[in-house]
Symmetry: C2
């Protein structure tokens, strides 16, 4: 016999084999006074798309990319929760929950309803996704949250109490006060803040604070904010219990080897004491879960049952199954005064060279698509309401869903894999296609005289041109020679009358435009730049699969005037008589010194170019503003991460490794187009940047269109392209950027207002998200730049503003996406780097006056005029069509400081109505005042039966919410504040008042309607 | 706006979002006549230890080695089965199932009982583990199966119908006929057979056969055997549905993207048609699972539900939830004639250079430990019965459990990781420690005169010496000088009287031995070799943690005679009178040519050595056999797998890369010890092989003890050490090896009896497992070698036999264990290669006579005499102790051809009794006859109240089993066979007849007993 391994362990006392060792675990602990209470919060964090698409995550396909199946999570959760009534779980992402819910039978649904109503399963946060907070627009945040909350309210009668934004990469003030307090949340939990900030807060026990995100609302929108000390995962010490995780399971069967209860209890207690040491009150939270965990929920609960049982038997601390709600109530009950936090948590860095400021621009095309669809969705819902919502016909619902998904913190952020980005785009495209049908039908109904009350199949066919940005619009490219003319119906979703200039591509050079009363409208033909045509050919082929056909020659530009919440109609036709045809632009081509004194602008605003082709003098004859500045391009070389410090620049992280100015090729002539409507300056900046600067006769701002790409990478470098506007303004390190498109927040270079920072990345560490705009001021004037999408921006030097327009990178930045941000467009097998087309708008105002343009014109950028095209044979349109329409009293328009955010018919025929005051308190001397909306004039043809003001997400009455919401105590003296909010709505007067920044949400029921919906 | 990704897929028709898509799957299909029926068999294969220990697998710890948690499997299974009454599952490994069962509360237990009784959960195979079939002894197979079947019967009233040995590395005849047919199984399914055999069978549709494993039993022990066409996993085409698996899930939600029902159905149907193409009848089985799968069972069932639903909707084939039982019944109902298979499926190769014949020897020390414990367990249960089983005192249960686990196909096989091998050894050690206590107590009770009926605390203390193999036995190493003497109680667990020679280490050189009647017994002192003492010092320290103390000088050898099922007592003391002291051996040291004519042997058998030190002449004066042969050592260099063919030699696979003869160092003298009892020849073969050859005066065989190791590896080569016996016998490529220690099967080099083979590995491809022995014959004589453990052996050349004794390898062989088989023993941080100590036995008989020694002496090797030591002060032992005992009638012993395999008291006081005929039909002219056992004389003091014959695993009445068991039709003419089996037992006569190879199992109830157990 070989040597016998007479293990010394042989002497351990073991119970007799065969003996039953069923152990009923006592998990019934609640909060225990006088002990450290560990709130064990089981949760899963399920990205609504990231490495896989949302559907792939749900069904668990494509697991070779990432093992993740949300269906498993929810399926396995139910028996796990039923197994022990003390077990609890929170679920967050409604896009997944709804997918799952509609797959369930009634038995499961009833069970889940019981679990939810008893609080064992709590739906928190409650939007369709856990939206990003940097690159999303507040209107999209509201919409996607409303969508999720509505479902929760309708199916379960529940109102989420807790904000749970645990993963987004930094946190916005708007999230805290608007999507937090104004939604009715009692608390808001998250994790990603600057590592230096976190370290400081640990030392001062300031990870839990009261966050006052709104200057305008002050303490009335305070919210309790809890920042996790480490991450949103279980505490240190190996407490991961997913199937196949390698944390030691709690082995408490005395008949088996490796019994480890004492060791595991000690580890748990140690983790708790460590966390208690940086936390106020005797309540701490253990976030028991992480990305896509609980695929087999029992595996977690089994171990948590044991931990709670044995930890409480041990007695040093008290562990309990909890939820963030229970935790919040315990925190509140402690009656503590909390440190105050204002402003926001941007930018986010997780180590000295890792500022997550790249994603402010990543996938700039997707960001624009999302923004464009957002504005379209707003308009389409108005038209859906006017027509009457139909379950049969096309609706805006799919677009709403697609937009909701796109707000996810790995969607519009650009931090998802390419195939997932494609999935978001596909969904938007489907949603747009359906909404477009609805819009066309609704416009046809509204315009057709004598159309039936519930109009569903009008004879007029409208089409729309989503691809106008690549100079493609089949309806306007028609042949006018055969007597047909183009009907352009222009819809304005804003609540005020609007003057604007339209542009559509046309073939003919002899065109005449008429308005709806038959008057000729002055128009201008601008030769289409070959840069635009190149894009057109390639992208129409790439995206539609067909060649675009004959190439149009001109942009036809003409001014339009559209009533609020309504439309006007214009007619474009061919006209041989030279007198009345549209003016062809005069075209100059200047080169080198020739354009040293070139000046454009037919109205108040004039731009004068210097020798280098960067314009140098801005002058506004109305405001008398004169300012010199230079506008130019540069790129940052993306750090490749190959050196000793492996941090590359990537989808998340901006880490420049040198700045390269882009010199304009002086050999390429600058082209100037002049005409009665607009002057354009075309510049081929280099072989892959084209720029058109426009000054409209009737507008006092500069519009700059940029076409950037394909960014070359044949030198092996990723590049991040920025444009900058350089002035000599003394801006003292200070600039302002918006928070999620709403409040402007003061930024100071290399400085954070509430904590001491050492910035190791002087460029990346000063970038901020720009959704609406960025501005600087010098006490004398304000330089504002507004954007057409979410984008990263900064003021890297005094007097300077820069915007990052496009990023193409060759390395992954190590935050999980595992792909370089290297977007391409392919024709067959031929792929080229993606080209970005976009616009920004620039204006210089006297100090104190900039906000009016930023706010009012900013709203117009968000809500561009909606164009629908038809054609007529001869001039008979007016015989059978209403050419002009406003839903409002024709003599009424909303005040300049109020926007209609939502007008949406709900399933029950009631209407969701949301108005927003556009100005902050003190922002503008006149426009920051209390505003009011006369609902009777907004709905002149309808009688409002009932109006209920609700929380921002429309899931509870506002009054009840205010009564219920926890009021938190703040350290220090009470704030000296004067908050203006509108008063209650008198049902007889029906006037809605709005204080600065106020957004008020209502559910309105109409008693009768001229639209005849009630006939259904 | 950037280019819009207007995906063309946008036009796919999708149901409206929000619509419920709950789909009730129709999984109710049964077998459908006229269609191809796909039996979908959900299963998991849970190794009872491999990369992790059995307990680690159960609780899911140590997941960094392998993500596996059986508790998850069984926990998640229950809700999954409850979800749909058509879902089915089989569970196999009772070691896991029992661990789980005792953790459950009554509610779950009731649920599971219902699931089992309704057939939705079926327990098949049913042993504690899925035992190996090459390196296990049939008694261990029976014991571990009985243990599992007992639990299943008692808890659930179920009798497993199906053998399910899907993973063991080749399959034995004994498994088929004994652990298959004789257990009552209707069919037996497995997968691992030689790849060439499989390929052939695919072509001829002979993967499903009737296996007739026993020549003696013939068709009476036929069983239906199904060999899987590919593996035991789902069919080709990605049908793995474990959490995180990357097979495409069945995506049938029309609201989500990537709907793939058609594609998945087509894949399923294609897989089915392919398998149908190589299978008889219109039934095929899909084994839906693999190692440690179903950790979240719902993940599999969800997808299988869909597959069954949509495949049946498709209609080309019929898919149904099934079990191997249902499948077997369907096969049987087809009323087909099946091809016949005899012999076995060894050796197993999965490709040309990968013969799984290394594991026949891997972990040779563990193999010996298991075999030693097996024999001890048999004896201990007898003594437990004699004493009366007590729930309070120590029992043999733990040893039984430990042994059961050790039979697993990654346990005794040596194919587990080192830490897992340690775990098996630890369990055996604990089991042995407990059983030893029980044995000591029982022997004390039996020997103490007037001890109380239910004897639990006798005053006599016995101790035992498990470490005798390393020359360590504290009780015998006592100091006799102070008048104390050593009491040696010798227990014989065999049913026949036994003469043997004992050996114990002693200090003194003046020793006298007396028998129980006070007569002096001739004895012999043999100086202990320094090789043995080196091993002693090191291993006692390594395994007990203490130094062994003063070193004994001699082995004391003396003959003993012990009654059947009983004991005798011997007394060893010091004696100054030189007349009667034990003879000191005369010691010669011969070197080189000196021992050219050296002869040893005092009895009939003499060995004569040649000049090289390898003995050359064997002569037996009784049988007149004379034969020349050489005995020598060699090693194979283990292929390192570094070349172009990456297959290394490893724990599983034997792949020699050259043979190196081991030359005896002619400088080292050969030492001869002679004396009245035994002659020994000591040879230091090389620096790491020591050999002692013994010829006992009263025995006609050669005993060879080998000490091999540490195998040096400093040349970078792994080595596999074999010993060989070379004769000039003309054996015509033929040799015989046992099947699991029972039937001998004829082997022919480079040939398989039922299929055409091309052997690419001429050595490895001819290795077979040896549990009992191996022999060759030339028509004139038989050369037999018997072994003390499971070992690999062959006859590589005519007239030759070789045994692989020890393997030390430096590379993993790529079959999953991911460790080189490089066993070491450590003292502190000092580790050396493991040393193997063992014995083999050799005899040459006239043709036709070898079987008697092989069978009868083979049984004695399996059941060595059990020694218990005590001491007496003076000569008063006999006053208070019975020195001699037999449980049987003193005038009775079992026939030479019958062994008592099991005598074990069960919980209810009844007794499990098992007798085995030791000879095959025709094996021996006299001993292959019908034998009979007179039970009344076996139990002379007890009255048998009831005797029921059962199946081999004792879980059903034999008669019922025979009636129930399916009889399968075989192709071709009926066999011409004459099967002899014992007749029914007449309860009045109580004589048990046994035909050749027959094993009969009984449950016996005694009406009264002299042991007084009934008084409890």
């Amino acid at each position: 016999m070989g040597p016998v391994r007479l293990a010394l362990l042989a002497v351990v006392a073991l119970a007799a084999a065969g003996e039953a060792v069923y152990i009923p675990y006592n998990t019934s602990a609640g909060v225990v006074a006088g002990k450290l209470n560990v709130h064990v919060v089981p949760h899963t964090h399920d990205d609504v798309g990231w490495l896989k698409t949302v559907d792939q995550y749900y069904v668990g396909s494509n697991n070779s990319i990432q093992g993740a199946c949300v269906q498993n999570v929810l399926d396995s959760l139910i028996p796990a929760l039923l197994k022990d009534e003390n077990r609890k779980f929170i679920y967050v992402e409604q896009a997944f929950f709804q997918r799952w819910w509609r797959n369930q039978n009634d038995m499961i649904k009833d069970t889940v309803k019981e679990l939810i109503s008893s609080g064992r399963l709590e739906l928190i946060n409650g939007g369709m996704c856990m939206h990003d907070e940097a690159t999303v627009h507040y209107i999209d945040m509201i919409d996607q949250t409303t969508l999720g909350h509505k479902f929760i309210k309708e199916e379960f009668g529940q109102i989420p109490r807790i904000g749970w934004q645990i993963d987004p990469f930094g946190h916005s003030a708007v999230q805290a006060y608007l999507l937090g307090a104004e939604v009715g949340f009692d608390a808001f939990y998250f994790f990603r803040i600057d590592y230096q900030d976190r370290d400081t807060r640990k030392g001062t026990k300031e990870l839990e604070v009261v966050w006052r995100g709104s200057k305008s609302f002050g303490s009335s929108a305070d919210i309790f904010a809890g920042i996790f000390p480490q991450n949103y995962e279980p505490p240190p010490g190996d407490f991961y219990f997913e199937v196949d995780d390698d944390s030691p399971v709690v082995q408490d069967d005395p008949l088996l080897f490796d019994y480890n209860v004492e060791e595991r209890v000690n580890g748990f207690v140690a983790a708790a004491l460590a966390q208690a040491n940086i936390t106020r009150t005797n309540h701490i939270m253990f976030t028991m879960g992480t990305d896509f965990k609980y695929q087999y929920a029992e595996s977690w609960f089994r171990n948590m049952d044991k931990l709670i049982h044995y930890v409480n038997k041990d007695g040093r601390i008290n562990a309990l199954y909890s939820t963030p709600s229970i935790y919040t109530d315990a925190k509140y009950a402690a009656n503590e005064q909390w440190p105050l936090k204002t402003n926001d948590f941007f930018p986010y860095a997780d180590n000295p060279n890792a500022y997550w400021t790249g994603y402010f621009t990543s996938r700039s095309a997707l960001k624009r698509y999302v923004r464009m669809m957002s504005g379209y969705y707003l308009a389409a819902r108005q038209l859906e309401f006017f027509k009457g919502k139909s379950k049969l016909g096309p609706t805006t619902d799919y677009l709403g869903d697609a937009l909701a998904l796109a707000q996810h913190h790995d969607a519009v952020t650009g931090t998802e894999k390419q195939h997932v980005a494609n999935d978001y785009a596909k969904r938007l495209s489907i949603g747009y296609t359906r909404a477009q049908e609805l819009v066309s039908t609704s416009l046809a109904c509204l315009t057709e005289l004598g159309s039936k009350p519930h109009c569903s199949s009008p004879t007029t066919k409208f089409s729309q041109c989503l691809l106008l940005n690549v100079t493609y619009c089949p309806p306007s490219e028609m042949d006018f020679s055969k007597g047909k003319s183009l009907v352009v119906l222009v819809y304005n979703s804003l609540g005020w009358k609007r003057q604007d200039v339209l542009r559509v591509p046309v073939f003919s050079d002899s065109i005449v435009v008429h308005d709806s009363e038959g008057r000729e409208v002055e128009s201008q033909l601008l030769p289409i730049a070959s840069a635009s045509l190149n894009i057109r050919d390639k992208h129409v082929k790439a995206y539609l699969g067909t060649s675009p056909g004959v190439t149009p020659k001109f942009w036809l530009a003409f001014p339009v005037s559209v009533p609020p919440l309504g439309f006007n109609t214009y007619f474009v036709s061919s006209m041989k008589k030279s007198a009345s045809v549209s003016s062809k632009s005069t075209v100059y081509s200047s080169q080198g010194s020739e354009y040293s004194s070139l000046q454009v602008g037919q109205g108040n605003l004039k731009l004068q170019y210097n020798a280098a082709g960067a314009f140098s003098l801005y002058s506004d004859s109305k405001t008398l503003i004169e300012a010199n500045f230079e506008q130019k391009y540069k790129y940052y070389i993306g750090q490749d991460g190959n050196g000793s410090d492996p941090q590359a620049s990537g989808a998340y992280i901006f880490r420049p490794n040198g700045t390269v100015p882009i010199k304009t090729d002086s050999q390429v002539p600058l082209t100037v187009l002049r005409g009665p409507i607009v002057d354009e300056v075309h510049q081929q900046i280099n072989s892959w940047i084209y720029q058109i600067t426009r000054v409209y006769k009737g507008k006092d701002y500069v519009e700059t269109e940029f076409i950037v790409g394909p960014i070359p990478t044949d030198d092996g470098n990723g590049k991040e392209v920025a444009t900058e506007i350089v002035t000599n303004m003394a801006t003292n390190k200070t600039f302002y950027t918006d928070s999620s498109g709403r409040d402007f927040i003061k930024r100071i270079r290399d400085y954070r207002s509430e904590w001491k920072i050492e910035v190791h990345q002087p460029i990346a560490g000063n970038y901020y998200p720009v959704n609406l705009g960025i501005y600087v001021e010098d006490g004398n004037k304000e330089l504002s730049v507004l954007v057409d999408r979410s984008i990263g921006g900064s003021s890297i030097n005094d007097g300077q503003i820069e915007l990052m327009l496009h990023r193409r990178l060759l390395h992954d930045d190590g935050r999980g996406v595992a792909e370089a941000l290297n977007e391409t467009v392919c024709l067959g097998n031929q792929c080229e780097g993606l080209i970005i087309e976009g616009k920004y708008y620039l204006k210089i105002d006297p100090q104190g006056e900039g906000s009016r343009w930023r706010r009012t014109f900013g709203q117009e950028i968000y809500s561009p005029l909606l164009l629908a095209f038809s054609e007529q044979d001869g001039g008979n349109w007016a015989n059978s069509h209403t050419p002009k329409f406003s839903a409002m009293d024709p003599t009424y328009s909303l005040p300049d400081n109020v926007a209609l955010l939502t007008l949406q018919e709900l399933e029950d025929g009631s209407v969701l109505l949301r108005f927003a005051h556009l100005y902050e308190a003190g922002e503008h001397k006149d426009l920051s005042a209390l505003a009011s909306v006369d609902l009777k004039r907004v709905f002149p043809d309808k009688k409002i039966g009932k109006i209920v003001e609700t929380s921002l997400s429309a899931n509870q009455e506002r009054a009840a919410m205010e009564k219920k919401r926890l009021k938190w105590k703040v350290q220090g003296p009470p704030a000296d504040e004067k908050v203006i909010r509108g008063g209650p709505v008198d049902p007889s007067k029906l006037v809605i008042e709005l204080g600065p920044m106020e957004i008020r949400t209502f559910i309105v029921s109409f008693e009768r309607s001229i639209s005849g919906k009630q006939l259904l």
